[in-house]
Symmetry: C2
Subunit: 288 residues, 2 copies
């Protein structure tokens, strides 16, 4: 399966890795825990703010220090990483959740520059839904431009296949790989062999790529239908749509006097489930 | 699957639990990590000495304090638990690895007595191969006589089905269950649904019980053959066999002037792989 994933990464993301660099686990949540054991409990971890709240929760449940780094339009802010003395920053540069922001190449280099300043610094690149970018080429991974072995790339089949398929993987830089095999390879792999063989065949025989492409069309049509409905509804004058090209969700800016939570509750009463951007902030800014 | 496991536990081990008390994970190693998150990183953990070295390694890799408790013929020694201020003791009372020792009921009550003296104390009962006891009834689980909610029962399908099937479970006492669901249920289950449905059917339709019974006969025959060969070999006068009724391995005491490691190396050269008991001790006693 690791051979199949390596080939897929080369073909689809232009990521050039050996099968040995790929560590498989039953879900990214499990891999985060394994990474803490690899990188160290004494390190200072940080996540994006706003962000996917489960990630910081996992760090906290593992009893490690986890801070929040504010985002500007390009991604996490470098000066805040410096000020908060972060060692390991966990980001999703290809498609940030929930803002949909794609980290520009300039910020990527700045981040790699930040990481290069200390041996203890690493970047965890969570590429959870890059496959579903609806328009244009997939955004290159940071792993691609990392020559200093600072980026740990993580992805999952949970988003692309089904949430009930618990197969994820991370790509370790070579010097960490040595540490992993000497210190943590006593762990049994958490994914059953049967599922590994099945997925390997699924990828090798081209079904995975076909599936992605079918699902991308499916989500594309779904999104277009939804945007058309909004555009042709009485809601149209109050609405601006943002970041709609990069995955499975988009942002809708609403001109309303209702508070975020009141609006969400009112929508839910009509059978529409939406989340307010403010709910993904640790300390929501006033303008969120 | 949890319903099927609950029924199996009732039928096979006379353990009476609700499906909600059963927490499923991709291997016991994963569950140990989850238990640390549940019971606390500040607690003092301990394992049996001699014992299965992976267990203490997992505690150490999770950055928690883990000590070793000496075994006498009945199991871990209570006074050492007290002296070393242990909170959580990880044991395998039904069949200790590697000595094969079965903890007598007296020591079980003493251990429960020890645990009852502080809210922070727990017993992890690792029942990894109770299904393969070759002679007599299965030894009752400690979980059976625990009315103070001090025992966390752990078992796996890895030993009974195949090492490549990563499905294990733990049974939480009710007060811990509440803590688990409020603090840790945000984690996705690490076992894919497909495998869960398959195993549930396998248990419900009686195949698991048949499989256990077939494998028990298989291992019984294998052991008898091996013991016969030893008994009828020139080795016989130098050998005493111990603890041969309780599972997948037995102890062989050898009258030899060779050191443990020299003997193992000599045997391996002849194509026979054995492990010396001394290699499972943290500090091997002279008489081991």
């Amino acid at each position: 399966m690791r051979k199949a994933i390596a080939k897929h990464l080369k073909d689809f993301r232009n990521i050039d890795v050996t099968p040995e660099q790929i560590i498989v686990g039953a879900g990214t949540e499990y891999l985060y825990g394994l990474l803490i054991q690899l990188l160290g409990f004494e390190k200072k971890y940080a996540v994006e703010n706003p962000g996917y709240s489960k990630i910081s929760l996992i760090y906290k449940k593992h009893n490690v220090s986890c801070d929040f780094i504010s985002m500007d339009k390009s991604g996490v802010q470098i000066d805040e990483l410096e000020n908060k003395a972060v060692d390991v920053i966990h980001i999703s540069p290809s498609h940030h959740f929930p803002t949909g922001c794609i980290m520009p190449i300039s910020r990527r280099y700045e981040l790699l520059g930040w990481a290069s300043k200390s041996d203890s610094r690493y970047i965890i690149e969570d590429d959870y839904d890059s496959e579903f970018r609806l328009i244009g080429q997939p955004i290159p991974a940071m792993q691609n431009i990392d020559v200093l072995e600072k980026v740990i790339y993580i992805n999952t089949f949970t988003k692309t296949l089904a949430s009930t398929v618990r197969i994820s993987y991370m790509v370790l830089p070579k010097h960490l790989l040595h540490k992993f095999y000497s210190e943590l390879s006593f762990y049994s792999c958490t994914v059953s062999n049967f599922e590994q063989y099945t997925l390997a065949r699924f990828i090798d025989d081209g079904y995975f790529e076909k599936h992605i492409s079918r699902m991308r069309n499916y989500y594309h049509t779904k999104r277009d239908t939804l945007l058309d409905i909004i555009k042709n509804s009485p809601l149209a004058p109050y609405v601006t749509i943002r970041e709609e090209n990069s995955g499975l969700h988009f942002l809708m800016k609403l001109n309303t006097t209702l508070s975020d939570s009141d609006f969400c509750i009112a929508a839910e009463k009509k059978g529409i489930k939406i989340s307010a951007l403010s709910s993904f902030y640790v300390n929501p800014p006033e303008s969120a």
